[in-house]
Symmetry: C2
Subunit: 266 residues, 2 copies
Amino acid sequence: MDNRPIGIFDSGIGGLTVFKEVLIELPNESIIYLGDTARVPYGTRSKDIIKKFALELVEFLIKKNVKCLVASCNTISSTCLEAIQKHSNIPILGVVDPAVKEAIRTSKNKRIGVIGTNATIESKIYEKKIKKIDPKSQVFTGSGSLFVPLIEEGLSNHSSTKKIAEDYLSRFDKTEIDTLILACTHFPLMTEIIQEIMGKKVKLVDSAKPTARQLKEILKAKKMVRGESKKPEYEIFVTDAPDRVYKVAQRFFGNKLPVKPKKVTF
Amino acid sequence: MDNRPIGIFDSGIGGLTVFKEVLIELPNESIIYLGDTARVPYGTRSKDIIKKFALELVEFLIKKNVKCLVASCNTISSTCLEAIQKHSNIPILGVVDPAVKEAIRTSKNKRIGVIGTNATIESKIYEKKIKKIDPKSQVFTGSGSLFVPLIEEGLSNHSSTKKIAEDYLSRFDKTEIDTLILACTHFPLMTEIIQEIMGKKVKLVDSAKPTARQLKEILKAKKMVRGESKKPEYEIFVTDAPDRVYKVAQRFFGNKLPVKPKKVTF
């Protein structure tokens, strides 16, 4: 048993989609969420700078005495998870492995599409991980970086967003994929548009639920679940604009946040 | 006479539009450009964090022994120029004053529109400055934050961009403005689309040329022009992805950069 909190860190507030699923899957766990809203987005930056920023986030949460870490950001999980894992000796889970497993479980024809930020797609991590588990599978990838600011500006249902999505998704035409991984925590907010463009035969897989489930398995296997019966505690930290985060978080969290975000400076 | 370089700093590479005009206006001056590509964009962040980041950029350039500073970013110029000016005793020029003067010179009916990032528009600095010079003028403002990532993704001529621009610019319908300030160094890259939507009767004003001209006047008035006859020197620093900056800079600079950008870490 381990009563310390779980740490979830993200380039911004997209990871609140993961936070929400962890709350559902592990309702007795205390959680500290940290979003780097002062430097979001990460997905268009270089690997070096993403690693530098991510290690600063990890450092902060380790000082808060978390028992494990979830990199809820696909960009971080794709580009520097190993470096982060080397940096500390608590379990660290990214969102790529859970999404990969879910996609392989979901796909029947083993033709899988992946849409993510530039950094995630350039890392080629999804191809590598999928092919490692199933070498016969075929993986088709495409960048959808612009979805992030479109969603953050509240334009996910704008007619222009649909046009841009059609362009981005057209690279999957003729690939006959039956499964599409939404490899960015923002993209589930565009599920409706993406599903409409891809058609009903293509199943969409996002990492939030599979990550929460895998985290639960890890905590059980390592006997690290929280044993206390008193209510779990939540803390949310952001590096900029806590009030605005509180206002707009509902879109990602699906509900009012359990606590008001606090500002932290590095 | 002062042979030290001019320092130009920006949230990213949009300020290269200003760098270019300074090169044309002051061809004998050495220049150091610094773009914070690791933390761009600034326009959606809070005033506090913009000020913190901007002061770090200023600190770096002051250590490089520049004789004056140009904040080529509208967001910085709008939100924290005074704080920066207090921080040092060399002349510091923003892009707002030059654009305001140019707009007042250009407008006949004194109905002026301003389109910029969220932070620039929320600062209300354009209204204040225009009305201070001409209290009878009327100022209409609107945010166009999404133009920045659209331009950075190379989608400035995409049909969706036009649709989004139509939405953003529709707030100027019925205002009868005859002049529109492009209050973000990225926006000149969308001049064509914006001009098409606004119609030929509306004059577009951007800050690059007026800022370069005002800088020239300041250096002359303060007897700070460079007196050396040997070739001026240029340095470009960015906080992330110098190679990518070198590749994409042409869109902003209109030409190949005079030197390769170097990476700097804070």
